[in-house]
C-alpha cells in the first residue's frame, strides 16, 4: 500500500485515495474546433509509461481534493506531490 503525501493533509495511506490517471492530459478548450485525432488522443490514448509518471489522485476519503503525484510506475517511488493548480 502506497503512502501518499496529500499537499493539504499530509502523509496518508493509499486506501484514502482514488486514482485519476495521467495528469499531463489537457482537456481541449470548450467551444473550440478539435480535430478527430486530438480528441481521440484526449479521450482514449494514454502512454503506459515505465518510470516517472505524473498522475492525478483524489483524496476521496479525506479532503476530497484532486492532487498531482509524480510516481515511478515500476518501483512505486513517489518523488513529489502537488496541489491541483500547481505544476509538477
Amino acid at each position: 500500500m502506497l503512502h501518499i503525501k496529500c499537499p493539504h493533509c499530509g502523509m496518508r495511506s493509499q486506501n484514502e485515495f482514488s486514482y485519476g490517471g495521467d495528469a499531463t492530459v489537457k482537456r481541449p478548450e470548450l467551444n473550440k474546433e478539435v480535430s478527430d485525432q486530438d480528441w481521440n488522443n484526449f479521450v482514449y490514448n494514454r502512454k503506459s509509461l515505465r518510470g516517472k509518471h505524473k498522475e492525478l489522485w483524489q483524496h476521496i476519503s479525506g479532503c476530497r481534493q484532486w492532487i498531482k503525484v509524480e510516481r515511478d510506475t515500476a518501483t512505486h517511488e513517489i518523488f513529489k506531490t502537488a496541489k491541483a493548480h500547481e505544476d509538477i
Partner: protein, 998 residues
C-alpha cells in the same frame, strides 16, 4: 504412562501441567509449552503422514516454520484446519489431529503403490500423460487425481471465529527476536524510538535458547529473557510473540499475522483468533535468522532424518530426544553442537563429517567429550521404511566423486547439517536485489531498496559477537536518525566457541548399481533425478524448472529445498549459482489464513449498510428489503402472505388509481453554490441551464467525455446562486467526484462549491392522481394548483412546523411531488404523510412498484444507463443542445454514434401477453438460427404493466427507431426460454406525458 523419549531435567516446558491430545485417534499426553511435534516425538511417534506424489512415509524434518513434512489436519473447538505445521502448533488440552494425504491410514496407505511405480512418475508426468484426449481431463483424469492427491481438507462450515485488522505506525519494526533482533530493539528503544519487535514463535530469543553462549556473564537464554522483560516494560515498545511478519510491501508497509488464540483450546469470548497488523515503519530491521540446509543422500526423506538444528531444539527447548542412537551427518561445525548436546544428556552420537581434517574449538570439545567422529565420511542412504533403523555409510574421496566400501551402521535417526541459508524473504520482497555470497554458498541481501537493514544470520553473519555489535549499532544509528536522541548503551562481552569453514559438498553421489531416490523437495517429492530430467528436456530458466518439477511449490515454499535445487541446476549446467538466479520470494512468507486477510469484513460487514432515516418505519410496516448499492431499500410492503409480484402490483396500481408514497432518500443529492453555478451546470449537462429561473427544476443528462451517458437527474434552482442537484442512487459518489474534477482541475476559474447532501435530506415521493389533494392538505398555506405549483416547480413550505422543500417532479409518470425535510425530521414527515393520506387511500410503495411505474412509462434508469449507451439510445437526443458545448459533446458525432441504424430504446410486449420476459434476454430475428445467432438487442428491464395487465419490457435494440411493430424473439438461454415478442414504443403508458402536467 511414561514418555520414552522425554528427558527429566532439560527444556523450557512446564512439567507440572500435563496436556492430553489425540493423534490419529490415539490418546497421548505432552506438557504445557510443547508443540504438537515435540509432544509426538516425546511419545516416539515419527510417522506423521504420507508424501504428496509417491505417498512415502513422512516424519519430522524441522522444528519450526521451515517444516516440509509434518503437517496435519487439526481439529479445534468443532472446527478443522488443514495443513497445520505440527512444529508450529502449540499443544492445548483436547487437541486432535489426523494425518493428511493417506488413505485408509497412515500405516497402510494405498497410494504408496505410486512409490513402486515411481519410475513412471517422473517430473512433468501429469503434464505429459493426462493431456489427451482433451475431454478426458474434466471427466476422468482430474477427479481421480484430485481424490488421490491433495493435502488436508478445508472446512465447508462458516468460520465463526473473529479476525481483526490493526493499523500501526512505528519508527522501527524489527522482524525476529533472535540475538540481532533483541540487540537492535534494545538499542533503539533505549534511544527513545517507537519500536515493534515481532517474533513468530511463542518464545523470544531465537537461537539464544539453544546455543551455548555467554553474553555479559549471563547465558544467552538469560540475557534474552532479561532484555525482553525490560522491553516489555517500556512504553515506546510493542513486543509481540506468535506474530509472523510475512510480507514487505511498498513504502515500508509490512503485514504481520498475530495468532492470539490458536494455542488455546477455544478462543475466549469477544477475543479474536488472529489479528492482521498493517505496519508502516520508518525503518525496518530484518533479523529473520537462517534455516539449516539439508544434505542430500539416498532415501533422505525417511522418517528419522531431520535437521541437526531441529534435533538440538527438540532437546534443549522441549527435553525431547529425537533418537537414542543418533547419527550426525554434517559438512560444518553446527552438527557438532547437536552431538555435544546428545552426549551431555547421556546419548552416544556418531558424527560423520564430510570434511577431511577440520579444526576448531567446537570440534576439539567434541573430541574431548569422547564423541566418535568419522572424517571424510558420508551417509549414502538411509535404511528403513517407516523409520530409520540404519544407515549405509562410506568414506568419500578428497575430490568427493568416489565412495569407498559401503558399510552399514545402526542408528535410529540421522541429523543432517548442510550449513545455513539466510532467510532473505522479507529483504527480497522489499525490492532489494540479492547477491550471492560464495563464502556461505547462499544469497544475501544487497543494496537496500526501501528503508530496510538486514542483520545477523539473515545477512550471512554467523558469529554472535559480530551479530550483536552490528545490531546494537544499527539500532542506535537508525533510532538516532529518527529521534535525534543520543543515548548509546554499552555492548556486553560475548563468549562463544569459534568455528571453522564449512565444506561446499552437499549432495552424495549414488554408489554404483544403486538407484536411491535423493530428495530435494520433501513435501512435493522432487528428487535429484527430476531436476536432471527437466534440464535434459530443455528447461533452463529456474522459474520454469520450478514449475515443471514443482520444486519449492509446496506449502513450505521450499524453505529447505530451494538452494539445493539451485546448486544442482548450476552443477549440471556448469554455471555458478548467481547466473542461475533464484525464484521470486513472494509474500506471504508462511501460509496466512483467509480469515485473517478478510478480517471483520465478512457477510453484512463486507461493506457498509446504509439505511434511510425512515428505515425503522419500513421495518415496522413489513417492508421486504433489497440491496440497492450500499443502501437497504423497501422492495415492497408485504400484506399477509403476498408475494413480491402481488404486493408490488397492488402498490403500483394504487399509485395509478389513488396516491402512493415512496422513500427516495437514497437518491444522490449535491448542493451547488456560487456565482458560476449555472455555468458549471451548463457545461456538465447536455441541455441548456443558463436561463433556468429561480424556483424551477429541470431534468438533465450528463455524459462522460467519450459521449456515453453517465447519469441523469433533476436539478433545481433554489436561489440565484444556489442549486440542488439529484443523481441516481448508484452514481451519487461518482458524480460528485466528476464535478470536483472539473472544478479543481479543468475549470478552476469557475467560482462554485459542491458538497454532498445526500444524508442531510430525507425524501418522500408522493405520486398519483390524488397527490395534489394530499399535498394541499399537508401544506394548507400553499397554492397547490398547477398555476401555483406547475410541473417542475419548486417551493419551500412549512410542514406542521417543520421546514420542507417541495419539488413537483415525477418518476412514475403520474402527477407527483417530492417532499424533502432535514433527515432528523424524516420520520415525522413520513408519518404525517401516511396519516393525512388515509382519506386518499395512500399506500407506501417500494422499489419494485417504482420500477414498474417507470418502465411502463418508458423512463430510463440505471439498467439503460449501463455505460454503453449515448443520449440517442435512450431517446434523450431532444435534450442534447446543438448550440453550446458540454462534456462529451465532441464524441457524439463519431461515426458509430450517428449511424442510421443506431440502437435505441424500445418497448417489448410478448405476443401471448402472458409470458414475462427475463431481463438480459437477447432479441433475435430467427429463434431457430444456428449459434451464434445474431443478436439485435437486449432486454434491459421488465415489469408487469399495471395499466394494461400484461408483461412489458424495455430493450435496447439495433435500429430501434424503425423496428416498432416488428415481431422478434426474446431468447434467454439462462432461463431456457424463447418468447415471441412484438416491438412497441417505449412510452407504453401516457405517451404524451399529460398526467405529470395535469
Amino acid at each position: 504412562m511414561t514418555q520414552n523419549y522425554r528427558l527429566d531435567n532439560i527444556g523450557l516446558i512446564n512439567r507440572d501441567k500435563k496436556i492430553s491430545f489425540k493423534f490419529n485417534g490415539k490418546n497421548y499426553f505432552g506438557y504445557e509449552g510443547d508443540t504438537l511435534a515435540s509432544a509426538l516425538l516425546a511419545n516416539g511417534v515419527h510417522l506423521i503422514g504420507r508424501s504428496f506424489k509417491y505417498h512415502r512415509p513422512r516424519g519430522f524434518f524441522g522444528a519450526g516454520v521451515d517444516e516440509p513434512y509434518a503437517i496435519v489436519q487439526l481439529y479445534r473447538n468443532n472446527e478443522t484446519e488443514p495443513n497445520v505445521k505440527t512444529t508450529e502448533q502449540e499443544l492445548f488440552e483436547g487437541l486432535e489431529a489426523t494425518s493428511v494425504n493417506c488413505w485408509p491410514s497412515v500405516n497402510f496407505d494405498i497410494g504408496a503403490i505410486n512409490n513402486f511405480l515411481k519410475v513412471f512418475l517422473p517430473a512433468g508426468f501429469y503434464y505429459k500423460t493426462f493431456m489427451w484426449p482433451k475431454s478426458f481431463w474434466y471427466k476422468v483424469y482430474e477427479p481421480i487425481i484430485r481424490k488421490a492427491a491433495g493435502l488436508g481438507v478445508a472446512s465447508t462450515k462458516h468460520d465463526k471465529e473473529r479476525y481483526e485488522h490493526k493499523y500501526e505506525y512505528c519508527d522501527l519494526l524489527i522482524a525476529g527476536s533472535g540475538p540481532s533482533g533483541l540487540a537492535s530493539a534494545y538499542a533503539a528503544a533505549k534511544n527513545g524510538a517507537r519500536v515493534i519487535l515481532a517474533e513468530d514463535k511463542p518464545r523470544f530469543g531465537g537461537t539464544l535458547l539453544t546455543s551455548e553462549v555467554n553474553i555479559g556473564n549471563q547465558t544467552g537464554k538469560e540475557w534474552a529473557e532479561n532484555i525482553i522483560s525490560e522491553l516489555k516494560e517500556m512504553p515506546n515498545v510493542i513486543v509481540k510473540n506468535r506474530s509472523q511478519v510475512f510480507g514487505y510491501y511498498d513504502h515500508n508497509m509490512l503485514v504481520m499475522s498475530e495468532k492470539l488464540s490458536d494455542h488455546l483450546p477455544k478462543t475466549k469470548k469477544y477475543h479474536p483468533k488472529q489479528r492482521l497488523w498493517y505496519i508502516r515503519a520508518k525503518e525496518v530491521l530484518i533479523s529473520s535468522g537462517s534455516i539449516e540446509r539439508p544434505l542430500v543422500f539416498g532415501n533422505n526423506d525417511t522418517p528419522g532424518v531431520m535437521l541437526s538444528s531441529a534435533a538440538k531444539e527438540y532437546l534443549k527447548v522441549y527435553g525431547v530426544l529425537v533418537g537414542k542412537k543418533p547419527l550426525i551427518f554434517t559438512n560444518n561445525d553446527s552438527g557438532y553442537e547437536t552431538a555435544i548436546e546428545f552426549k551431555k544428556n547421556g546419548i552416544e552420537p556418531i558424527i560423520l563429517d564430510t570434511r577431511k581434517e577440520p579444526n576448531s574449538e567446537i570440534i576439539d570439545e567434541a573430541k574431548n567429550l569422547g564423541i566418535q567422529i568419522k572424517f571424510s565420511y558420508v551417509v549414502v542412504a538411509a535404511k528403513g521404511y517407516k523409520k530409520v533403523n540404519a544407515a549405509e555409510i562410506a568414506k568419500i574421496s578428497d575430490n568427493k566423486n568416489d565412495l569407498g566400501t559401503l558399510e552399514n551402521i545402526t542408528c535410529d535417526c540421522i541429523c543432517v547439517s548442510g550449513f545455513w541459508t539466510p532467510t532473505i524473504h522479507l529483504a527480497s520482497q522489499s525490492g532489494n536485489k540479492t547477491t550471492f555470497n560464495k563464502d556461505i554458498d547462499a544469497f544475501v541481501p544487497g543494496v537496500s531498496k526501501q528503508s530496510e537493514t538486514t542483520l545477523g544470520a539473515a545477512k550471512g553473519t554467523f558469529t554472535l559477537a559480530e551479530t550483536l555489535k552490528d545490531s546494537f549499532n544499527a539500532g542506535y544509528e537508525l533510532s538516532k536518525k529518527i529521534t535525534k536522541n543520543d543515548n548509546k548503551i554499552s555492548h556486553p562481552t560475548v563468549v562463544e566457541k569459534n568455528k571453522t569453514t564449512h565444506d561446499k559438498f552437499w549432495c552424495v553421489p549414488l554408489p554404483k548399481g544403486k538407484n536411491y531416490k535423493r530428495f530435494l523437495d520433501f513435501q512435493n517429492d522432487v528428487a535429484v533425478s527430476d531436476i536432471e530430467i527437466a534440464l535434459k528436456e530443455g528447461y533452463r530458466s529456474i522459474e520454469h524448472v520450478k514449475r515443471y518439477t514443482t520444486l519449492g511449490m509446496a506449502t513450505d515454499q521450499g524453505k529447505t529445498s530451494n538452494l539445493n535445487g539451485l546448486q544442482l541446476v548450476s552443477n549440471i549446467e556448469n554455471k555458478i549459482i548467481p547466473e542461475v538466479g533464484h525464484t521470486t520470494f513472494r509474500p506471504p512468507y508462511t501460509p496466512v489464513t483467509i480469515g485473517a486477510i478478510v478480517g471483520r469484513e465478512v457477510g453484512k460487514h463486507s461493506r457498509p449498510t446504509r439505511k434511510s432515516p425512515l428505515h425503522s418505519w419500513h421495518e415496522k410496516n413489513n417492508a421486504v428489503f433489497v440491496d440497492a448499492g450500499v443502501w437497504l431499500r423497501p422492495r415492497y410492503y408485504k400484506i399477509g402472505e403476498e408475494t413480491l409480484f402481488e404486493g408490488s402490483k397492488r402498490e403500483a396500481k394504487n399509485v395509478r388509481a389513488n396516491v402512493g408514497v415512496c422513500d427516495v432518500t437514497t437518491l444522490g443529492k449535491i448542493d451547488i453554490k456560487g456565482p458560476d453555478a449555472a455555468e458549471l451546470l451548463n457545461r456538465v449537462y447536455t441541455n441548456a441551464w443558463l436561463k433556468l429561473p429561480v424556483g424551477k427544476a429541470r431534468y438533465g443528462v450528463m455524459l462522460r467525455e467519450d459521449g456515453i451517458v453517465m447519469d441523469d437527474g433533476t436539478t433545481t434552482r433554489i436561489s440565484e446562486n444556489h442549486y440542488h442537484m439529484t443523481t441516481t442512487t448508484a452514481q451519487a459518489a461518482n458524480v460528485l467526484s466528476h464535478l470536483e474534477y472539473y472544478l479543481q482541475l479543468v475549470w478552476p476559474e469557475l467560482n462554485v462549491n459542491v458538497v454532498s447532501t445526500t444524508e442531510q435530506w430525507a425524501g418522500a415521493a408522493i405520486a398519483g392522481p390524488k397527490s395534489r389533494d394530499l399535498l394541499q392538505k399537508l401544506f394548507p398555506n400553499i397554492d397547490a394548483s398547477t398555476e401555483g405549483l406547475p410541473f417542475m416547480g419548486y417551493i419551500e413550505a412549512d410542514l406542521f412546523g417543520v421546514h420542507a422543500r417541495i419539488f413537483r417532479i415525477s418518476f412514475s409518470g403520474e402527477l407527483a411531488y417530492e417532499v424533502n425535510v432535514e433527515s432528523d425530521n424524516g420520520n415525522f414527515m413520513w408519518e404525517k404523510i401516511m396519516e393525512v393520506g388515509q382519506e386518499f387511500k395512500i399506500q407506501p410503495y417500494g422499489t419494485e412498484a417504482l420500477s414498474t411505474l417507470r418502465i411502463e412509462m418508458g423512463h430510463i434508469a440505471g439498467s439503460e444507463l449501463d455505460g454503453r449507451t449515448i443520449p440517442y439510445d435512450n431517446s434523450l437526443e431532444g435534450l442534447v443542445s446543438k448550440k453550446k458545448d458540454f462534456i462529451g459533446k465532441r464524441s457524439l458525432d463519431r461515426e458509430a454514434f450517428i449511424a442510421d441504424d443506431r440502437q435505441k430504446v424500445v418497448g417489448v410486449v410478448p405476443i401471448d401477453k402472458k409470458t414475462s420476459i427475463p431481463e438480459g434476454s437477447h432479441l433475435v430475428k430467427d429463434a431457430m438460427a444456428p449459434i451464434p445467432n445474431p443478436k439485435l438487442g437486449y432486454i434491459s428491464a421488465s415489469c408487469w404493466s399495471v395499466e394494461y395487465d400484461n408483461p412489458f419490457s424495455l430493450a435496447i435494440l439495433k435500429d430501434g427507431k424503425n423496428m416498432i411493430g416488428q415481431k422478434l424473439f426474446a431468447m434467454s438461454p439462462l432461463k431456457n426460454k424463447t418468447i415471441p415478442v412484438e416491438i412497441v414504443s417505449s412510452h407504453y403508458v401516457d405517451p404524451k406525458g399529460e398526467r405529470v402536467r395535469s
